[in-house]
């Protein structure tokens, strides 16, 4: 059983190594330290979004958060405008942006639990609202500036040669592992994800747990938005959109079932790296955009064959 639980992680790691070797063969220097560091930074941004997505999916009842892309963009704008290039304003920026994300996520959670709107629909509606909000706030122009210290934190090598954002990601990974496996809250997430009725009967406050999952998803997405602005300097149009479905795929590649109640975050981290390395290879090789997308789509389908296929009806 334990071996089975670790299988997606081992598989993702093996695939990452294979893809790095393939990348190195196709374009020497692909697996160099610098390049791998750069890939990991990109993966960390996706991975932090996927942390929240992972929690929502683990919570079950068709849990999914399509609004993360919008929240990443909103988080980037809030953070960029609060700090406006000043190092001293980083702490308020972090607080403001995470609070905004959590508030948006909590609204999602309330819609899903109190109004009992299907998560896909609720978060899809929220995405539309956030996209509209972005148009109002930004009015077409780039908005906000990253503080120099934040840009250094995200892009420049720090302790042991790893940029701060990778340490942040590792910290998120440890926090997620502790949260999921060492706290009552974590037990409750798995409980409502695998059998909500039973969890409710056992005294789990299912509604409160689910609302906090969506709030956490919003907070993680906003945090990724903050890091993203450090990576790119300022926030431009819909920066976050690229994270919506990849964050779900990273979770799937990490071995978490979309049905909820089964999986964890360690695999998701590997899934995020796997997805990023795959995209990295495709941008390295010289083929045009159409070929790139075709290979990307086909590879995703091929990789999914290794993960959580549904049961056959005649079994």
């Amino acid at each position: 059983m334990i071996r089975f639980a670790g299988a997606p992680l081992v598989m993702a790691l093996a695939l990452i190594v294979a893809l790095l070797a393939l990348g190195e063969a196709l374009s020497p220097g692909f697996a160099s330290v610098d390049q791998v560091r750069r890939l990991l930074i990109v993966a960390a941004l996706l991975g932090i979004v996927a942390a929240g997505q992972n929690l929502v999916i683990l919570g079950g009842r068709e849990g999914i958060d399509l609004s993360v892309g919008g929240i990443v963009s909103v988080g980037a704008i809030v953070a960029g405008n609060v700090m406006d290039g000043a190092n001293g304003a980083i702490v308020p920026a972090v607080l403001a942006c995470v609070a905004t994300g959590a508030a948006i996520g909590a609204i999602n959670g309330l819609g899903v639990t109190v109004l009992r709107i299907a998560p896909l629909v609720m978060t899809l509606g929220m995405l539309g609202v956030l996209q509209g909000l972005l148009v109002v706030v930004r009015q077409g122009a780039p908005s906000g500036r990253a503080a120099p210290a934040l840009a250094r934190f995200v892009t420049e090598p720090g302790l042991f040669g790893l940029p701060g954002i990778l340490w942040l990601w590792i910290a998120v990974g440890i926090a997620m592992a502790l949260l999921l496996h060492r706290t009552v809250f974590g037990q409750r997430i798995y409980a409502i994800g695998s059998n909500e009725r039973a969890a409710h009967a056992a005294g789990v406050p299912t509604g409160a747990v689910r609302v906090s999952l969506y709030a956490l998803s919003g907070a993680f997405a906003a945090l990724a938005g903050l890091c993203l602005i450090g990576y790119s300097g300022s926030s431009f149009s819909n920066v976050g959109e690229q994270y919506m479905l990849p964050s779900i795929i990273a979770v799937v590649f990490g071995g978490t079932s979309l049905a909820g109640g089964r999986g964890g975050y360690t695999g998701t981290m590997a899934g995020a790296v796997l997805l990023t390395v795959l995209q990295g290879i495709l941008t390295t090789v010289s083929i045009d955009e159409s070929g790139r997308q075709m290979i990307f789509g086909a590879t995703l389908v091929a990789l999914m064959l290794f993960y959580g296929r549904g049961e056959a009806l005649r079994a």
Partner: protein, 328 residues
């Protein structure tokens, strides 16, 4: 019928009505939006303006219908917009290559239907045969279809032949062509809803195991659902081609999520097993009318997207609440 009444004797009139016609809340919202539109600008409900509304949103209506077939079976197709794009560029490229005379145009449309069905077949194999999770798997196939569309036409802008868009924008017997198209599509949808396939799709959505045990070929049914979805995405592409008079490899990308929203607005359950196509069509019109009303209300341009997003969300919430309030 008497048997059903004997089992549930206390169901109120609205409950029975809603159980029979789950699209009623959508129709009510639609009527309210039409009223609001008429109050804000009397011209907006003139036959001319309404024809314009239909011609702008006919593609979304058809894409919503396409999405409905798979949602009936509890599936979802996030590649529907990409299929629309692929068919749009296929048709335009073929018409450009073989000329804009009636015969090549019809051949191009035939090829478009084949492409749509083939994309649906790919989705069906991936989701029903290989049993991958529909949301992520159709997203991946959608990326693949977008790649194909980009290979056929790297940049948007190849024009469609004049014969095509003149016909689409013209009139037959004084009636706009789009209304004929809408009527024909409506007839086709009505005929389809009376087929065994749609009954089986709903059965699979209600409970795949139960359907399997009662002899429904579940895998084949889900595959046919995806192929039907591909075919209707192709029909939607024909409308887009007529409305925009050109090819664009990314034209459908943003429409996928709207098609899902339209299905839900129409009172169809994403879990599968219940719903109506009429509802999805009304849902697509609600999205279109919300955009129109927000515009007629004189909303400042930078606020329009926000108000539209908020209104769609509100409509989704109201629909869900009415459905549940009356049913439970």
């Amino acid at each position: 019928m008497t048997g059903a009444n004997a089992i549930e004797p206390r169901r109120s009139v609205p409950r029975r009505l809603l159980a029979r016609f789950p699209f009623l809340p959508a129709i009510a919202i639609l009527a309210l939006l039409l009223l609001a539109s008429a109050l804000l600008s009397p011209n907006s409900v003139s036959p001319r303006a309404l024809t314009g509304l239909v011609s702008t949103y006919l593609a979304l209506m058809l894409l919503a219908v396409a999405q409905t077939w798979v949602v009936f079976a509890g599936d979802i197709d996030l590649s529907a917009g990409a299929i629309l794009s692929l068919v749009n560029v296929t048709v335009v490229v073929m018409m450009e290559r073989f000329g804009g005379e009636p015969l090549p145009v019809l051949a191009a449309l035939g090829a478009g239907l084949v492409v749509g069905a083939a994309c649906g077949l790919v989705n069906g194999v991936v989701v029903a045969v290989l049993r991958l999770q529909g949301i992520v798997a159709t997203f991946a196939t959608g990326i693949f279809f977008t790649g194909l569309a980009l290979a056929l036409m790297p940049v948007a802008g190849t024009p469609a032949p004049a014969l095509y868009w003149r016909t689409y924008g013209g009139r037959i017997l004084e009636v706009p062509f789009v209304l004929w198209t809408a009527a024909a599509a409506g007839l086709l949808v009505w005929a389809l809803t009376r087929t065994r396939l749609v009954l089986r799709l709903l059965g699979v959505g209600d409970g795949p195991r139960a359907a399997y045990q009662s002899g429904v070929p579940v895998t084949a049914t889900r595959m046919r659902g995806y192929m039907l979805c591909g075919l209707f995405a192709a029909l939607a592409a024909f409308c887009i081609t007529g409305a925009t008079a050109s090819g664009d490899p990314l034209v459908g990308g943003a429409m996928t999520l709207y098609s899902v929203a339209a299905v839900v607005l129409g009172g169809t359950a994403l879990a599968g097993g219940s719903g109506t196509v009429v509802g999805s069509i009304a849902g697509a019109l609600i999205i279109g009318l919300i955009n129109a009303v927000v515009y007629y209300a004189g909303t400042p341009s930078e606020w329009q997207n926000f108000v539209q997003g908020l209104s769609v969300m509100l409509a989704l919430a109201i629909g869900v609440l009415i459905n549940r309030g009356v049913r439970s």
